[in-house]
């Protein structure tokens, strides 16, 4: 089961409105390489892990990723909450406003809604965990693209933290992958 803790994994406090950045950033919530895909991927795959190492690691990383969804959604909310309708339209978020008002909705940077087809559950331990490793690398790459696109320190601080978590998760998945490979899966 899950219980809520009333703080984010890392402080998020964006003071400056920036619709352009919000439009890009949302992809790490609802895009193919984003945190929601990561959370659901590991959450779903954990049921088929063959031993306690895989069960524990996938469960615990899935849980952390759910917290990261909240962080990205928080950033998008804080970047957009003071915007006028006109500003949203000018930033290319007019269609977002039409569909969602100023709500936060899991899409990629092009407004394409989240879909579970972004991830796989194959029932094959090595296939699943190598997808997990790739997912961490792709998320790291997207965080680096996003870091290149902003100069706002409030945004940068959080992106650097989240990017580093991808590095750590990749390493854990790699250790698990090599172990299962040696075990002959």
């Amino acid at each position: 089961m899950f219980k809520y803790v009333k703080h984010t994994n890392f402080p998020v406090n964006i003071r400056k409105k920036d619709l352009r950045m919000a439009k890009y950033l949302v992809t790490q919530f609802g895009g193919s390489n984003g945190e929601l895909a990561a959370a659901l991927r590991y959450f779903s795959q954990k049921f088929n892990m063959p031993d306690d190492y895989g069960k524990a690691l996938l469960n615990d990383i899935a849980t952390e990723e759910l917290g990261h969804c909240e962080m990205i959604a928080t950033m998008v909310h804080q970047l957009t909450k003071d915007a006028t309708k006109k500003e949203m339209e000018e930033a290319g978020l007019g269609s977002h406003y039409a569909e969602h008002g100023k709500g936060v909705y899991p899409t990629d940077a092009n407004g394409v809604p989240f879909t579970v087809t972004y991830f796989a559950v194959t029932g094959d331990v090595l296939a699943d965990i190598s997808e997990d490793m790739a997912a961490e690398q792709k998320a790291r790459a997207v965080y680096e693209n996003l870091i290149d696109l902003t100069e706002d320190e409030d945004v940068l601080r959080v992106l650097l933290f989240l990017r580093q978590r991808e590095v750590v998760h990749f390493n854990r998945f790699k250790e698990l992958y090599e172990y299962y490979q040696k075990k002959g899966y």
Binding site: D51, Y53, R165, K174
Partner: protein, 144 residues
């Protein structure tokens, strides 16, 4: 069933290689690890020349909360490591130390500023619902 062995390979340390040849001195303090997003010095890989930006607490409340968040982070990162290396006694001892410290600080914080988890909502008022929620930012103050 509850107290049966977990079925782990007894020689697991031979199987799960520590790809960093880690020594325990490699582990950063919760505060240093929290800022970097990584508790392990040898695994830390910054992007270009961008390492991390400092966090400045603007009130006593924020300062207390950051300490709790840093401990929470340390516990989480050691947790992931221990998932694969549960027989590492030194890291487990470190983990337990942070869990104790976290418990103490959360108790202290909740008494003054309200609950961070529902089960700490035990005062004279149901203040679980009180703003700010983590996604709020009020007047430039870092939430909660």
């Amino acid at each position: 069933m509850l107290f049966e062995t977990n079925g782990m390979d007894e020689n697991i340390s031979l199987f799960i290689s520590d790809i960093f040849g880690r020594e325990n001195k490699d582990i950063l303090s919760p505060k240093e690890g929290f800022l970097r997003g990584n508790m392990f010095a040898s695994e830390y890989k910054p992007y270009k020349n961008l390492t991390y930006l400092p966090l400045k607490a603007k009130s006593e409340r924020e300062e207390m909360l950051y300490e709790i968040m840093a401990l929470d982070f340390a516990i989480n990162d050691l947790n992931l490591y221990l998932d694969l290396h549960p027989d590492n006694k030194e890291v487990f001892a470190m983990f337990k130390g942070y869990v104790e410290e976290h418990k103490k600080q959360v108790k202290e914080y909740s008494k003054i500023y309200g609950p961070l988890t529902l089960n700490k909502t035990v005062g004279s008022k149901f203040n679980w619902i009180d703003s700010p929620w983590p996604w709020d930012n009020l007047g430039g103050s870092m939430y909660v």
